[in-house]
Protein backbone atom coordinates (compact mmCIF):
# COMPACT_ATOMS: atom_id res chain seq x y z
CA UNK A 1 0.00 0.00 0.00
CA UNK A 2 2.74 2.34 1.06
CA UNK A 3 4.81 1.33 -1.98
CA UNK A 4 1.98 2.11 -4.32
CA UNK A 5 1.44 5.48 -2.66
CA UNK A 6 5.08 6.37 -3.14
CA UNK A 7 5.06 5.31 -6.77
CA UNK A 8 1.94 7.37 -7.41
CA UNK A 9 3.64 10.30 -5.71
CA UNK A 10 6.74 9.88 -7.88
CA UNK A 11 4.63 9.79 -11.05
CA UNK A 12 2.64 12.87 -9.99
CA UNK A 13 5.91 14.63 -9.23
CA UNK A 14 7.05 14.07 -12.86
CA UNK A 15 3.73 15.14 -14.29
CA UNK A 16 3.66 18.30 -12.19
CA UNK A 17 7.23 19.25 -13.04
CA UNK A 18 6.67 18.81 -16.78
CA UNK A 19 5.63 21.88 -18.76
CA UNK A 20 3.26 20.09 -21.10
CA UNK A 21 1.24 16.89 -21.20
CA UNK A 22 3.47 13.81 -20.92
CA UNK A 23 3.36 10.27 -22.25
CA UNK A 24 3.92 7.13 -20.20
CA UNK A 25 7.24 6.72 -21.99
CA UNK A 26 8.46 10.15 -20.88
CA UNK A 27 7.52 9.52 -17.25
CA UNK A 28 9.17 6.10 -17.45
CA UNK A 29 12.41 7.60 -18.76
CA UNK A 30 12.47 10.13 -15.94
CA UNK A 31 11.75 7.52 -13.28
CA UNK A 32 14.32 5.11 -14.62
CA UNK A 33 17.07 7.54 -13.79
CA UNK A 34 16.46 6.74 -10.13
CA UNK A 35 15.11 3.18 -10.12
CA UNK A 36 14.47 0.19 -12.30
CA UNK A 37 10.84 0.04 -13.22
CA UNK A 38 8.80 -1.60 -15.97
CA UNK A 39 6.80 0.26 -18.61
CA UNK A 40 3.65 -1.67 -17.73
CA UNK A 41 3.98 -0.70 -14.08
CA UNK A 42 4.10 2.98 -14.88
CA UNK A 43 1.26 2.59 -17.36
CA UNK A 44 -0.90 0.87 -14.71
CA UNK A 45 -0.13 3.53 -12.10
CA UNK A 46 -0.98 6.33 -14.53
CA UNK A 47 -4.16 4.58 -15.57
CA UNK A 48 -5.14 4.30 -11.89
CA UNK A 49 -4.36 7.97 -11.32
CA UNK A 50 -6.61 8.77 -14.25
CA UNK A 51 -9.39 6.64 -12.81
CA UNK A 52 -9.00 8.43 -9.47
CA UNK A 53 -9.33 11.76 -11.25
CA UNK A 54 -5.82 13.01 -10.53
CA UNK A 55 -4.75 12.86 -14.16
CA UNK A 56 -6.61 13.80 -17.32
CA UNK A 57 -5.56 12.31 -20.64
CA UNK A 58 -5.94 12.87 -24.34
CA UNK A 59 -5.36 10.38 -27.10
CA UNK A 60 -2.48 11.32 -29.35
CA UNK A 61 -1.78 8.86 -32.10
CA UNK A 62 -1.77 5.42 -30.49
CA UNK A 63 -0.84 6.53 -26.94
CA UNK A 64 -2.31 8.83 -24.35
CA UNK A 65 -0.78 12.05 -23.11
CA UNK A 66 -1.44 12.90 -19.48
CA UNK A 67 -1.84 16.16 -17.57
CA UNK A 68 -2.49 16.75 -13.89
CA UNK A 69 -6.14 17.54 -13.24
CA UNK A 70 -5.16 20.02 -10.56
CA UNK A 71 -1.96 21.65 -9.40
CA UNK A 72 -0.05 20.44 -6.37
CA UNK A 73 -1.05 23.65 -4.59
CA UNK A 74 -4.72 22.88 -5.12
CA UNK A 75 -4.25 19.41 -3.67
CA UNK A 76 -2.34 20.83 -0.73
CA UNK A 77 -5.04 23.42 -0.11
CA UNK A 78 -7.76 20.81 -0.13
CA UNK A 79 -5.80 18.50 2.15
CA UNK A 80 -5.00 21.26 4.63
CA UNK A 81 -8.59 22.43 4.64
CA UNK A 82 -9.63 18.98 5.83
CA UNK A 83 -6.93 18.90 8.46
CA UNK A 84 -7.77 22.35 9.79
CA UNK A 85 -11.48 21.60 9.78
CA UNK A 86 -10.95 18.44 11.82
CA UNK A 87 -10.07 20.68 14.77
CA UNK A 88 -10.04 19.21 18.23
CA UNK A 89 -12.70 16.54 17.96
CA UNK A 90 -10.49 13.97 16.23
CA UNK A 91 -7.57 13.95 18.64
CA UNK A 92 -7.15 10.20 18.29
CA UNK A 93 -6.29 10.77 14.62
CA UNK A 94 -3.93 13.69 14.84
CA UNK A 95 -2.69 16.06 17.49
CA UNK A 96 -2.41 19.74 16.67
CA UNK A 97 0.20 21.94 18.29
CA UNK A 98 -2.51 24.53 18.50
CA UNK A 99 -6.10 24.81 17.47
CA UNK A 100 -7.10 27.49 15.05
CA UNK A 101 -8.72 30.39 16.83
CA UNK A 102 -10.45 33.64 15.99
CA UNK A 103 -8.44 36.83 15.62
CA UNK A 104 -9.67 38.51 18.81
CA UNK A 105 -8.50 35.56 20.89
CA UNK A 106 -5.15 35.65 19.13
CA UNK A 107 -4.79 39.30 20.13
CA UNK A 108 -5.45 38.32 23.72
CA UNK A 109 -2.69 35.70 23.51
CA UNK A 110 -0.28 38.32 22.21
CA UNK A 111 -1.12 40.63 25.12
CA UNK A 112 -0.52 37.85 27.63
CA UNK A 113 2.88 37.13 26.11
CA UNK A 114 3.88 40.79 25.93
CA UNK A 115 2.96 41.32 29.58
CA UNK A 116 5.18 38.39 30.52
CA UNK A 117 8.02 39.74 28.38
CA UNK A 118 7.73 43.18 29.96
CA UNK A 119 7.59 41.68 33.43
CA UNK A 120 10.78 39.80 32.76
CA UNK A 121 12.51 42.89 31.34
CA UNK A 122 11.47 44.94 34.38
CA UNK A 123 12.77 42.45 36.93
CA UNK A 124 16.09 41.78 35.18
Amino acid sequence: MRQLGQLEAAVMERVWSADAAVSVREVLDALQQERTIAYTTVMTVMDNLHTKGLLVRQKEGRAYRYRAARTREQHAAEYMQNVLASGSDRTATLLHFLEQMPADEVAELRRALDQAGNGEAATS
Binding site: G5, Y79, T93, G119
Partner: protein, 343 residues
Protein backbone atom coordinates in the same frame (compact mmCIF):
# COMPACT_ATOMS: atom_id res chain seq x y z
CA UNK B 1 -27.57 -8.10 47.19
CA UNK B 2 -25.91 -5.23 49.03
CA UNK B 3 -22.69 -5.44 47.04
CA UNK B 4 -24.19 -4.37 43.68
CA UNK B 5 -26.05 -1.52 45.36
CA UNK B 6 -22.90 -0.31 47.09
CA UNK B 7 -21.00 -0.50 43.78
CA UNK B 8 -23.65 1.47 41.92
CA UNK B 9 -23.65 4.10 44.65
CA UNK B 10 -19.87 4.19 44.48
CA UNK B 11 -20.01 4.73 40.67
CA UNK B 12 -22.53 7.54 41.01
CA UNK B 13 -20.68 9.29 43.83
CA UNK B 14 -17.36 8.98 42.00
CA UNK B 15 -18.77 10.32 38.74
CA UNK B 16 -20.48 13.27 40.44
CA UNK B 17 -17.88 14.27 43.02
CA UNK B 18 -14.76 13.16 41.11
CA UNK B 19 -14.84 15.77 38.33
CA UNK B 20 -15.64 18.56 40.81
CA UNK B 21 -12.72 17.60 42.96
CA UNK B 22 -10.29 17.21 40.07
CA UNK B 23 -11.30 20.51 38.53
CA UNK B 24 -10.98 22.44 41.75
CA UNK B 25 -8.03 24.80 41.63
CA UNK B 26 -5.15 24.49 39.22
CA UNK B 27 -3.23 21.75 40.94
CA UNK B 28 -3.60 19.21 38.13
CA UNK B 29 -2.29 21.76 35.63
CA UNK B 30 0.82 22.08 37.74
CA UNK B 31 1.70 18.43 37.20
CA UNK B 32 -0.15 17.39 34.05
CA UNK B 33 1.24 13.88 34.10
CA UNK B 34 -0.42 13.28 37.46
CA UNK B 35 -3.54 14.99 36.14
CA UNK B 36 -3.76 12.57 33.21
CA UNK B 37 -3.32 9.69 35.61
CA UNK B 38 -6.01 11.04 37.96
CA UNK B 39 -8.63 11.50 35.24
CA UNK B 40 -7.91 8.09 33.77
CA UNK B 41 -8.21 6.52 37.21
CA UNK B 42 -11.55 8.27 37.77
CA UNK B 43 -12.97 7.10 34.43
CA UNK B 44 -11.62 3.60 34.97
CA UNK B 45 -13.08 3.47 38.45
CA UNK B 46 -16.59 4.46 37.32
CA UNK B 47 -16.47 1.94 34.47
CA UNK B 48 -15.10 -0.78 36.72
CA UNK B 49 -17.73 -0.30 39.42
CA UNK B 50 -20.56 -0.48 36.87
CA UNK B 51 -19.03 -3.64 35.46
CA UNK B 52 -18.52 -5.23 38.86
CA UNK B 53 -22.01 -4.25 40.01
CA UNK B 54 -23.41 -6.24 37.09
CA UNK B 55 -21.07 -9.12 37.73
CA UNK B 56 -21.92 -9.17 41.44
CA UNK B 57 -25.63 -9.38 40.61
CA UNK B 58 -25.08 -12.17 38.13
CA UNK B 59 -22.72 -14.25 40.21
CA UNK B 60 -23.19 -14.52 43.95
CA UNK B 61 -20.11 -13.79 46.02
CA UNK B 62 -17.53 -16.32 45.01
CA UNK B 63 -15.93 -18.20 47.85
CA UNK B 64 -12.18 -18.00 48.17
CA UNK B 65 -11.16 -21.62 48.68
CA UNK B 66 -7.86 -23.37 48.43
CA UNK B 67 -8.58 -26.15 45.96
CA UNK B 68 -10.02 -25.77 42.52
CA UNK B 69 -12.43 -28.67 42.89
CA UNK B 70 -13.84 -27.23 46.07
CA UNK B 71 -14.11 -23.80 44.43
CA UNK B 72 -16.02 -25.09 41.41
CA UNK B 73 -18.28 -27.10 43.60
CA UNK B 74 -19.20 -24.23 45.85
CA UNK B 75 -19.69 -22.00 42.81
CA UNK B 76 -22.23 -24.40 41.48
CA UNK B 77 -24.00 -24.52 44.80
CA UNK B 78 -24.21 -20.76 45.08
CA UNK B 79 -25.34 -20.27 41.50
CA UNK B 80 -27.93 -22.95 41.92
CA UNK B 81 -29.14 -21.31 45.11
CA UNK B 82 -29.55 -17.93 43.46
CA UNK B 83 -31.09 -19.03 40.19
CA UNK B 84 -33.59 -21.41 41.82
CA UNK B 85 -35.76 -18.48 42.94
CA UNK B 86 -37.48 -16.31 40.29
CA UNK B 87 -36.36 -13.07 41.95
CA UNK B 88 -32.77 -14.25 42.19
CA UNK B 89 -32.77 -15.39 38.60
CA UNK B 90 -34.20 -12.07 37.39
CA UNK B 91 -31.58 -10.12 39.33
CA UNK B 92 -28.86 -12.40 38.09
CA UNK B 93 -29.85 -12.04 34.46
CA UNK B 94 -30.20 -8.27 34.82
CA UNK B 95 -26.71 -8.14 36.27
CA UNK B 96 -25.25 -10.29 33.52
CA UNK B 97 -26.89 -8.14 30.85
CA UNK B 98 -25.59 -4.98 32.54
CA UNK B 99 -22.03 -6.25 32.79
CA UNK B 100 -21.92 -7.61 29.25
CA UNK B 101 -23.54 -4.47 27.80
CA UNK B 102 -21.11 -2.14 29.56
CA UNK B 103 -18.11 -4.17 28.46
CA UNK B 104 -19.32 -4.73 24.90
CA UNK B 105 -20.32 -1.10 24.40
CA UNK B 106 -16.98 0.21 25.52
CA UNK B 107 -15.07 -2.45 23.59
CA UNK B 108 -17.02 -1.69 20.44
CA UNK B 109 -16.59 2.08 20.71
CA UNK B 110 -12.91 1.75 21.48
CA UNK B 111 -12.32 -0.53 18.51
CA UNK B 112 -14.32 1.76 16.24
CA UNK B 113 -12.39 4.78 17.47
CA UNK B 114 -8.98 3.15 16.95
CA UNK B 115 -9.86 1.67 13.55
CA UNK B 116 -11.35 4.88 12.17
CA UNK B 117 -8.39 6.90 13.44
CA UNK B 118 -5.98 4.50 11.79
CA UNK B 119 -7.76 4.45 8.45
CA UNK B 120 -8.09 8.21 8.37
CA UNK B 121 -4.37 8.51 9.16
CA UNK B 122 -3.51 6.10 6.33
CA UNK B 123 -5.58 8.19 3.99
CA UNK B 124 -3.76 11.31 5.16
CA UNK B 125 -0.37 9.66 4.66
CA UNK B 126 -1.40 8.84 1.10
CA UNK B 127 -2.39 12.45 0.46
CA UNK B 128 0.79 13.65 2.12
CA UNK B 129 2.85 11.47 -0.20
CA UNK B 130 1.43 13.61 -3.01
CA UNK B 131 1.43 17.08 -1.52
CA UNK B 132 4.21 17.15 1.10
CA UNK B 133 7.95 17.41 0.80
CA UNK B 134 10.27 15.67 3.21
CA UNK B 135 12.50 18.00 5.18
CA UNK B 136 15.43 15.88 6.32
CA UNK B 137 16.95 18.58 8.46
CA UNK B 138 14.06 18.47 10.93
CA UNK B 139 12.73 15.03 10.04
CA UNK B 140 9.29 16.40 9.16
CA UNK B 141 6.90 16.64 6.21
CA UNK B 142 6.26 20.13 4.88
CA UNK B 143 3.08 21.15 3.06
CA UNK B 144 3.00 24.28 0.95
CA UNK B 145 0.26 26.32 2.62
CA UNK B 146 -0.24 29.91 3.80
CA UNK B 147 -2.00 28.98 7.07
CA UNK B 148 0.34 28.02 9.90
CA UNK B 149 -0.36 24.52 11.20
CA UNK B 150 1.83 22.05 13.07
CA UNK B 151 0.57 18.61 14.00
CA UNK B 152 1.55 14.99 14.25
CA UNK B 153 0.10 11.76 12.93
CA UNK B 154 0.71 9.17 15.65
CA UNK B 155 0.81 5.40 15.36
CA UNK B 156 2.47 3.37 12.65
CA UNK B 157 4.45 5.51 10.21
CA UNK B 158 4.24 8.40 12.64
CA UNK B 159 4.98 11.81 11.18
CA UNK B 160 5.23 15.42 12.18
CA UNK B 161 3.70 17.74 9.58
CA UNK B 162 4.30 21.48 9.22
CA UNK B 163 3.05 24.01 6.72
CA UNK B 164 5.48 26.37 5.01
CA UNK B 165 3.85 29.21 6.97
CA UNK B 166 5.22 27.63 10.17
CA UNK B 167 8.77 27.66 8.82
CA UNK B 168 8.32 31.32 7.90
CA UNK B 169 6.83 32.36 11.23
CA UNK B 170 9.25 30.73 13.66
CA UNK B 171 12.92 31.13 14.36
CA UNK B 172 15.19 28.12 14.78
CA UNK B 173 14.71 27.74 18.52
CA UNK B 174 10.95 28.23 18.44
CA UNK B 175 10.68 25.59 15.73
CA UNK B 176 12.74 23.15 17.77
CA UNK B 177 10.44 23.78 20.74
CA UNK B 178 7.36 23.03 18.61
CA UNK B 179 8.96 19.82 17.37
CA UNK B 180 9.82 18.81 20.94
CA UNK B 181 6.16 19.36 21.86
CA UNK B 182 4.94 17.18 18.98
CA UNK B 183 7.50 14.46 19.71
CA UNK B 184 6.23 14.38 23.29
CA UNK B 185 2.74 13.63 21.91
CA UNK B 186 4.13 10.83 19.74
CA UNK B 187 6.32 9.27 22.40
CA UNK B 188 3.63 9.49 25.07
CA UNK B 189 1.10 7.86 22.71
CA UNK B 190 -1.32 10.66 23.58
CA UNK B 191 -3.48 9.48 20.70
CA UNK B 192 -4.27 6.34 22.69
CA UNK B 193 -5.05 8.38 25.80
CA UNK B 194 -7.54 10.34 23.73
CA UNK B 195 -8.92 7.28 21.93
CA UNK B 196 -9.71 5.71 25.31
CA UNK B 197 -11.41 8.87 26.55
CA UNK B 198 -13.33 9.50 23.31
CA UNK B 199 -14.57 5.92 23.19
CA UNK B 200 -15.79 6.17 26.79
CA UNK B 201 -17.71 9.34 26.03
CA UNK B 202 -19.23 7.84 22.88
CA UNK B 203 -20.19 4.63 24.66
CA UNK B 204 -21.86 6.38 27.60
CA UNK B 205 -22.83 9.88 26.44
CA UNK B 206 -25.13 10.38 29.42
CA UNK B 207 -22.33 10.21 31.95
CA UNK B 208 -21.07 13.79 32.30
CA UNK B 209 -17.92 12.61 34.05
CA UNK B 210 -16.72 10.92 30.85
CA UNK B 211 -17.23 14.08 28.84
CA UNK B 212 -15.40 16.07 31.47
CA UNK B 213 -12.58 13.53 31.40
CA UNK B 214 -12.22 13.79 27.63
CA UNK B 215 -12.08 17.59 27.69
CA UNK B 216 -9.66 17.73 30.60
CA UNK B 217 -7.40 15.04 29.11
CA UNK B 218 -7.26 16.96 25.81
CA UNK B 219 -6.05 19.98 27.79
CA UNK B 220 -3.64 18.08 30.02
CA UNK B 221 -1.82 16.27 27.20
CA UNK B 222 -1.04 19.69 25.71
CA UNK B 223 0.31 20.91 29.04
CA UNK B 224 2.40 17.80 29.39
CA UNK B 225 3.85 18.21 25.90
CA UNK B 226 4.61 21.85 26.73
CA UNK B 227 6.40 20.69 29.88
CA UNK B 228 8.53 18.32 27.81
CA UNK B 229 9.44 21.17 25.46
CA UNK B 230 10.44 23.53 28.30
CA UNK B 231 12.90 20.97 29.62
CA UNK B 232 15.14 21.84 26.66
CA UNK B 233 14.00 25.32 25.66
CA UNK B 234 13.19 28.48 27.62
CA UNK B 235 9.55 28.80 28.71
CA UNK B 236 9.12 32.07 26.86
CA UNK B 237 10.39 30.47 23.65
CA UNK B 238 7.60 27.90 23.79
CA UNK B 239 5.09 30.63 24.67
CA UNK B 240 6.21 32.87 21.81
CA UNK B 241 6.09 29.94 19.36
CA UNK B 242 2.51 29.38 20.45
CA UNK B 243 1.55 33.00 19.90
CA UNK B 244 3.29 33.26 16.54
CA UNK B 245 1.59 30.13 15.28
CA UNK B 246 -1.75 31.39 16.54
CA UNK B 247 -1.15 34.59 14.61
CA UNK B 248 -0.16 32.69 11.49
CA UNK B 249 -3.14 30.36 11.73
CA UNK B 250 -5.88 32.79 12.69
CA UNK B 251 -9.24 31.72 11.34
CA UNK B 252 -12.46 33.56 10.66
CA UNK B 253 -14.41 33.67 13.91
CA UNK B 254 -17.32 31.74 12.45
CA UNK B 255 -15.24 28.74 11.45
CA UNK B 256 -14.67 27.23 14.84
CA UNK B 257 -15.39 26.88 18.49
CA UNK B 258 -13.33 27.61 21.53
CA UNK B 259 -9.72 26.77 20.88
CA UNK B 260 -8.57 30.04 22.33
CA UNK B 261 -9.27 29.38 25.97
CA UNK B 262 -6.84 26.51 26.33
CA UNK B 263 -4.19 28.33 24.29
CA UNK B 264 -4.46 31.38 26.52
CA UNK B 265 -4.11 29.19 29.55
CA UNK B 266 -0.98 27.59 28.09
CA UNK B 267 0.61 30.97 27.32
CA UNK B 268 -0.10 32.28 30.84
CA UNK B 269 1.24 29.12 32.36
CA UNK B 270 4.42 29.27 30.25
CA UNK B 271 4.86 32.96 31.01
CA UNK B 272 4.83 32.27 34.74
CA UNK B 273 7.75 30.53 36.43
CA UNK B 274 7.65 26.74 36.63
CA UNK B 275 5.57 25.65 39.60
CA UNK B 276 5.24 21.88 39.76
CA UNK B 277 3.57 20.08 42.67
CA UNK B 278 5.88 18.82 45.38
CA UNK B 279 6.60 15.12 45.81
CA UNK B 280 4.20 14.90 48.76
CA UNK B 281 1.21 16.11 46.79
CA UNK B 282 2.15 14.01 43.80
CA UNK B 283 2.29 10.94 46.02
CA UNK B 284 -1.12 11.88 47.45
CA UNK B 285 -2.60 12.05 43.94
CA UNK B 286 -1.06 8.72 43.01
CA UNK B 287 -2.46 7.19 46.18
CA UNK B 288 -5.92 8.63 45.60
CA UNK B 289 -5.92 7.39 42.00
CA UNK B 290 -4.86 3.92 43.10
CA UNK B 291 -7.59 3.94 45.77
CA UNK B 292 -10.18 4.93 43.14
CA UNK B 293 -9.25 1.92 41.04
CA UNK B 294 -8.90 -0.47 43.96
CA UNK B 295 -12.14 0.71 45.61
CA UNK B 296 -14.65 -1.18 43.46
CA UNK B 297 -12.51 -4.31 43.43
CA UNK B 298 -12.30 -4.34 47.21
CA UNK B 299 -16.02 -3.66 47.56
CA UNK B 300 -16.78 -6.56 45.24
CA UNK B 301 -14.35 -8.87 47.01
CA UNK B 302 -15.38 -8.21 50.62
CA UNK B 303 -18.20 -10.76 50.81
CA UNK B 304 -16.04 -13.33 49.08
CA UNK B 305 -13.46 -12.99 51.79
CA UNK B 306 -16.19 -13.30 54.39
CA UNK B 307 -17.56 -16.45 52.84
CA UNK B 308 -14.21 -18.17 52.66
CA UNK B 309 -14.47 -19.51 56.19
CA UNK B 310 -18.12 -20.28 56.76
CA UNK B 311 -18.76 -21.80 53.36
CA UNK B 312 -21.38 -24.49 53.41
CA UNK B 313 -23.60 -26.20 50.87
CA UNK B 314 -26.82 -24.16 50.77
CA UNK B 315 -29.74 -26.29 51.91
CA UNK B 316 -31.80 -25.37 48.86
CA UNK B 317 -29.17 -26.81 46.58
CA UNK B 318 -28.70 -30.01 48.54
CA UNK B 319 -32.42 -30.57 48.67
CA UNK B 320 -32.87 -30.94 44.93
CA UNK B 321 -30.53 -33.55 43.58
CA UNK B 322 -32.86 -34.11 40.64
CA UNK B 323 -32.37 -30.53 39.49
CA UNK B 324 -28.63 -30.85 39.74
CA UNK B 325 -28.75 -34.04 37.73
CA UNK B 326 -30.80 -32.23 35.11
CA UNK B 327 -28.13 -29.54 34.95
CA UNK B 328 -25.52 -32.21 34.51
CA UNK B 329 -23.72 -31.48 37.72
CA UNK B 330 -24.76 -34.33 39.91
CA UNK B 331 -21.22 -35.43 40.74
CA UNK B 332 -20.41 -32.05 42.16
CA UNK B 333 -23.57 -32.03 44.22
CA UNK B 334 -22.86 -35.49 45.51
CA UNK B 335 -19.37 -34.51 46.41
CA UNK B 336 -20.72 -32.11 48.97
CA UNK B 337 -20.01 -33.65 52.36
CA UNK B 338 -23.02 -35.17 54.05
CA UNK B 339 -24.66 -32.82 56.47
CA UNK B 340 -22.60 -29.78 55.50
CA UNK B 341 -25.77 -27.85 54.70
CA UNK B 342 -27.37 -28.64 58.00
CA UNK B 343 -24.48 -27.94 60.29
Amino acid sequence: MTVPVVLVVFAIVASVLGPRLLRRGDWLSRSPRMGIFAWQALSGSVLLSALLAGAALAVPALPATASLAEFLQSCLMLLKAQYSTPGGAAAGITGAVLAVTVLARYGFCLARCVVSARSSRLEQLRSLALVARRNDRYGVLVVDHPVAAAYCLPGRGRQIVLTTAVLDALDEEQLSAVLAHERAHLRGRHDLVMAGAEALEQAFPRVPAFRAARLELARLIELQADDTAVRRYPRLTVASALVRLAEGGAAPASALGAGGHSALMRVRRLAAPSNPLGPGRRAAIALAAAALLAGPVVLAAVPAAGIAHDYSCPPAAVASHEDMAALGCLPAAQACPEGAGRS
